[in-house]
Amino acid sequence: MADQKIAAATNAPAAITLIEAITQALAYEMRHDDSVVVLGEDVGVNGGVFRATAGLSAMFGTERVLDTPLDETTIAGLTVGMASQGMKPVAEAQFDGFMYPMVDFIVCHAARMRYRTRGRLSCPMVLRVPWGGGIRAPEHHSEANESIFTNVPGLRVVMPSSPARAYGMLLAAIREPDPVVFFEPKRIYRQYKEVVADDGEALPLDVCYVLRDGRDVTLVTWGAQVKETLEAADALAKEGIQAEVIDVATLKPLDFATIAESVSKTGRCVIVHEAAKTAGFGAEIAARLAEESMYDLVAPVERVTGYDTHIPLFRLEMKYLPSVDKIVAAAKRAVAQS
């Protein structure tokens, strides 16, 4: 992906982090589409607590970059109101744990505006949510709550896990005529840099990415766990096990075909995610396998996930999260079956 982008770039593009890619995408789209506005707590002069909107206020002014009063219901409601009247608001929930008060507007209005008016009104909005644990943050700053939205018709739910995908998918999300919940894995915001041309090229919002080919077992993951999963694949390779790694990237709608194709080859699937196991989004992928790939499976599906408890405060949090060890162990269990 990144390679293609380099080719397409007009002037030498810089290597940037995932969060810088977010900023770059926001700036690009704001330059090219007047109807795009950014809103949230501290997104203005402060540039967001993670600096995702750094510089935007200076570039586009306070009428395009709006600090909101401290209320997530307000952010969600204003966003739906603006979107339904022809603007393209990109709202930020400051942290994953603060987006629950937005659920009502997302479910009852954003996801239904087109449906309930038979297309007369619509809701082209993006809700950006810094997501997940592992940064030694305080309580409520480390949640993996993507599953809340995946059962809600009318939404798109995406989670990029590389700078290039963050850039391309955020552009796509803003241009999408329907509401998108855009989760950003904050643990890998600054994990590594990648050259991402600022060429305005969007990436599709309905495909999974095969990050690594392998014939023995399919590792399916998304968000920050892509890091551990790729590391697990490396570790497995050392033991002669070739793992295919898939970044789901878009959870809703799910590109199950890519997963099914991989499993038809490997016969084994380990699903890795950070959220608690029970009814996490991994369940949906496992369910699809049980429905549509049963005859391909030679081993039971495995899920390596957060435990069914809250992510603990930071002294214990790394023990909660899926680790390379846990992924490797599950993959080996799968490969041991036949």
Partner: protein, 357 residues
Amino acid sequence: MTLAAHFDIEYLQYLGPDGKLVADLPKGFDPKTLVPLFKQMLFVRVFDTKSIALQRTGKLGTYAACLGHEATHIGIGASMRPEDVFAPSYREYGAQFMRGVHPREVLMYWGGDERGNDFEIPRNDYPWCVPISTQCLMAAGAALSFKLRKQPRIAVATCGDGGSSKTDFYAAVNSAGAYKLPLVLCVINNGWAISVPRASQTGAETLAQKGIAGGLNCLQVDGNDLIAVLEAMRRAGARARSGEGGSVIEFMTYRLHDHTTADDARRYRGEDEVKAGWTREPMLRLRSFLTSKKLWDEAQEKAWLEECGKKVDVEINAYLECKVQPVEAMFDYLYADPPPDLLAQRAAAIALEKRNG
């Protein structure tokens, strides 16, 4: 005592329950302009009566009547411009008719058909809003979009006395103040939120004063007095259009009917109260005022009511003749660009329909 702040809330009323003026008319106000509005009020009442009957005979789903709210609803609708945006709750048909919503659309909505929300005329108005008071905050968002794009438009939202307890209402008040939005929040206080009386909703003496929490302009109005409604909306609209910001207006009226056709108000309120409500209702006083001004008479009313009956019947027939949507309508308005799995479900649903004949 050092004062940090000080607030007065004005009460507006012109027409008493007996149809006599209790205050001088607003400057330049011409009573003749009331006649077409009074006619609209009568039209709404005919529509309401027939809709209730339709529900009672099984031809409509649950229906929320607007009996007693006519002056407030028509006054609000009359005060708006076509390019403004209206965000109703679920019973403000009078205001919606003034904006161009067809009565058949109301019936389709309560008749279980989403097409009722696809208004032919006020294309940007919000549909009926069931989650209480969320429309207030959406309207704030709409108002914010007008302000950011420098469009000379305002947003008007309505909610009930119960709705004024909802956090979304407070969020709308807060936003309107923080951004100085061209927003008019109309709290239609009809005394009841289903079975819960106004007094149980809040310790506030007036609902208008909730606007103080956001630094908004606040006004309390006799909502059964069309003249007061018009004057309150004129003032709030003028403020909003001139960049002075938002208003909260409390319209004091009374819900003469059950909450909806699914409710039985006798379980929780006395006959006496309802009887008293009928003495203050909005048509009575306006009819008597217009009659006293020789602007209206019995013959006119009879003829007009007949016409209303016919008009409403045309709408009802259009509603009743409207075929149910095909099964794929469930799928076709969810995404502009529906994902493949959804299209597969759509195809399966169509196939099932065909199989079942």
